[in-house]
Symmetry: C2
Subunit: 219 residues, 2 copies
Amino acid sequence: MKPVGVELVVMTVLEGALEALLVRRSGNQWSLPAGTPAPEVPLQEAAAAVLARQTGITGIGLEQLYSFDRDGARRVAVAYLALIDAGRHALEPGSEVVEVRWFPLDDLPALPAEHAEALEYGRGRLRAKTAYAPVAVQVLPETFTLGDLQAVYEAVLGARLDTRNFRRDVLGAGVVEEAGMERRSGPGRPARLYRSVPGEEFAVVARERRIAGRVRPPG
Amino acid sequence: MKPVGVELVVMTVLEGALEALLVRRSGNQWSLPAGTPAPEVPLQEAAAAVLARQTGITGIGLEQLYSFDRDGARRVAVAYLALIDAGRHALEPGSEVVEVRWFPLDDLPALPAEHAEALEYGRGRLRAKTAYAPVAVQVLPETFTLGDLQAVYEAVLGARLDTRNFRRDVLGAGVVEEAGMERRSGPGRPARLYRSVPGEEFAVVARERRIAGRVRPPG
DNA sequence: TCAAAAGTGTTTCTCTTACACCCATGT
DNA sequence: ACATGGGTGTAAGAGAAACACTTTTGA
């Protein structure tokens, strides 16, 4: 009987860059939040529970990423993926861990090789998904500007997008609607606030109109 | 310790329609080939072994499909997907099963709900993959005509494709090459035979040029 | 010579991309 | 008044889709 474990690839966007959530159980070894679910509890619930227990984060949408079965490992690790708004979730290390932190993907601490692999896999999935699903709204507060949204897309894709094309595509896709308010912050014209259209936040269906087209290298 | 099992969604194309491989262990209950791997064997190998043991099919490429964790189930089922050429694999029910058969997807016997779900999921994956990966060559003998290939695409996509566009796209993608022979069967002009370009059979990378474009309803 | 299947180019249109300026505000 | 970020339209090009006839064979 080969047993199953869960691990969590949780990402956010901070200062225009993707960051991943890691925990430290003891010593200097960082890792993904991970645990071993009991047989009677559904796997996704178990994953959510592990996340809550170890990091304090609750109430987020998890998506199954991949089931890793590293050679030599005696157990299978089912990885779940989430993209969330760090600002809405305070980090509270649970009793099993001594520290919880966001790390920029390009400045990670030493990780078990399998966890680094899962992170990389998760980033690839996000990138792929970004082209056809409005995943980015998950990383933003309830209302946001199109500039915010574009910044998230750019962070996830690792590429710069054209503002006018981006707006045309996002608005054309019908996944956001105007909130009827403005936000002003320092100099510059106030930005209109939008919110995601109810029921469209987690839509995974391919859309007639892609939100982000073919990506070109930064520059 | 929640245990893990494997199950196999194996499909082929017969007479222009997708068919799935099912086994009957006893009585009238059909199901997907499935089993419980030992801890020390890698999951994908275990899945291949289950398939070989129960159906006699060996040496095919398996792709992880999804890990199902049906509510109430005490175990996780990692499903693997394959699309193969039925003509190249004789079916031999192993000792664990009494019968192995291909069933058209639109004429399936009664199945456990979870297995029907996995089949449906597999069909969706195939459809999605068809748009950017040359999966279809897996279902054909070593040499085949472009007409054969188009028929496979049409079966997987459940849609009719334009012959000229299809040929242009397939040849442009560079995944097949002429075998330098012809095949004649009954009346009609003989068809050139092609084979898949070595190394491209299992290429999963997105291609610049898609093989099958946006799909329109049959008619 | 007829029926049956294979093979072949071009045109149209849609979608993607590239691109530059004015607007509203804070300091 | 100037610096800062927000917001807008259009033209050119590439890719996808639509479309009909000729070729080669078996019967």
